[in-house]
Symmetry: C2
Subunit: 340 residues, 2 copies
């Protein structure tokens, strides 16, 4: 089969890789219908994270081709959506809703690499969710989004306790930030402020439910949110960028006792303990437990209640993966869907 | 009146200071029955925080001597306990339970300085809580503890979501850590692990409800908690020290999706964003909103359900404040009560 390997920063190649096989009885092998490039794939692409002949890709939807003997909830022929973290969904941590910290957690990116034609998914029952039937083609991008960006944005909004009567501020107008806007709207937030300087993303954010746009950043961005919230700051803040400035902007925009959900932390971020202490806020972040939200998200997409697939603004064949990375790196595209 | 002024690091003096007067109609002037030295008073004492002729002390109980015209809930002659942060208890932030971040918040330490015979307390209704009557003398240390260390330890345990079925780990065996143990026990925690190397504090911790003692620190301390919790880490962790090692030990001891309550952050602490992100935990910290808990804590003390006053292991007259600081600095005392 064909699959993406990043040899070194900036060096993305589509190569012949061995066809995946069932190894453990809890495995499934799926034939991918769609995959994509994640904002986080740009970290190694830009040399910020280590990379060395790495199997890329961790977002995926597809059709189950084979299952191991122990697999119970997904069947050959099912259309499935999977989380970007493998989970058994039965351990104590999973049962508490933190499947991304499962005792059997494994990142799909780097070890499996779903920018490919096929993938072996361990703990298939605990990782994959079957859709009610084979989806109409126009639903595929939205289902693919559920695999990471939607699930991550949703987790961030939930972690920030977006909900009725609350003002939510979203730092980041990338795919995850936009999905957090959508999630905040679905969760019933009263007001949704987005930090954005890009007109096309502002428009998409508004279409997903944003009520206010702030173009300032850093301390000025914080001041703008305070001005919009009677001097108090937002009840709920989502951080979906991953830089030092963005994280501290998110801390500053959160009112005392408010909630910060962060999903974009990069290696450079170092949080002054005293600043976090003085803020007096709740925080929850980390790799999103997408599997917790998947059944609900799949249903909302199936019912056409939400349309997260619009976050993809470019579609390319898998063979042109290098072009997809380049387009995202140069911000010519927000998020690129790849067809295997 | 007499009161404590810290001229410079290590230079604690008891001096004549002007008698406090009502300035605003929401003020009360109280005659202090007891005050004490806080672990945080040792930061300036040791030169870690700036200090320059600073009015010291922020924990206090006493009898109301005068009230302004607008004061409604406390009366002249009442015995009162106050929070170490002034709050109006009516603003939106206060109503959400974060009185330490009140729009009128003011730290008592440094501006009022309750290591003194009297104190003017702004926003008396929002800051002070009257006891049901004048307390028996043996209740005074416990009521004084409610002013900060008990309230702070309680907030930390609550922030860590200590409760039934949960394993709580407490980093720090100082007064606040010990109070967090007491709080965790009262909140119904199933198991309470304390990091401690001091036999007397271990004994006090056990008497307050600790079930396990861990003497290791840092990564070894984390490993010990993991071993006690089936490899997962504690559900709830309290950080009550304020050093880099203690904070990261607390992060490491918290299971994925667990809750960290931190109340002891010092200036040196810098949290690597990626470490916090990877941990995937809830955090809540900052100056404790003691006022939220005060009515409940006063009642539990009044009913003799809890006995936090045992955390004081030395009592000195106010005039010997310098000796009190020295005893705590040299760890000859956990916490010193001063009688004005």
């Amino acid at each position: 089969m064909r699959g993406v390997v990043m040899h070194a920063p900036g060096d993305v190649r589509v190569e012949d890789r061995e066809d995946p096989q069932i190894i453990d009885p809890t495995d499934a092998v799926i034939q991918l219908s769609a995959t994509c490039v994640c904002g986080s794939d740009l970290w190694p692409y830009r040399g910020i994270e280590p990379v060395d002949h790495t199997l890329m890709g961790h977002e995926y939807v597809g059709i189950v081709e084979q299952v191991g003997d122990a697999v119970r909830t997904v069947r050959v022929g099912d259309f499935v959506v999977g989380s970007f973290v493998i989970s058994d969904n039965t351990c104590e941590i999973c049962r508490a809703g933190f499947q991304s910290r499962c005792v059997h957690a494994q990142l799909v990116g780097g070890t499996i690499g779903t920018q490919a034609q096929k993938a072996r998914i361990p703990y298939a029952d605990g990782t994959l969710v079957a859709t009610p039937g084979h989806p109409d083609p126009d639903l595929v991008p939205s289902l693919l989004a559920a695999s990471d960006v939607l699930g991550t944005g949703w987790f961030a909004a939930d972690a920030a306790q977006a909900g009725p009567g609350r003002t939510v501020a979203v730092v980041g107008d990338g795919a995850v930030g936009l999905m957090a806007v959508l999630a905040a709207q679905q969760l019933g937030a009263e007001r949704i402020i987005v930090f954005s300087r890009h007109e096309d993303r502002q428009a998409l954010a508004r279409s997903y439910g944003a009520t206010d746009i702030v173009t300032e950043r850093g301390d000025e961005g914080v001041a703008a949110v305070k001005e919009l919230t009677g001097g108090l700051g937002a009840h709920s803040v989502v951080e979906a960028v991953g830089t030092q400035e963005a994280f501290m902007q998110a801390v500053g925009a959160t009112r005392g006792g408010g909630h910060l959900g962060y999903v974009g932390v990069g290696y450079e971020v170092s949080i002054p303990g005293m600043a976090l202490f003085s803020a007096g806020i709740h925080t929850l972040g980390g790799p999103a437990p997408v599997r917790r939200y998947l059944p609900d998200l799949v249903q909302r997409i199936w019912d056409r209640t939400i349309d997260p697939g619009r976050v993809f603004d470019l579609t390319l064949p898998l063979e042109q993966a290098a072009e997809a990375y380049e387009a995202m790196d140069q911000r010519r595209a927000t998020k690129v869907l790849l067809t295997p």
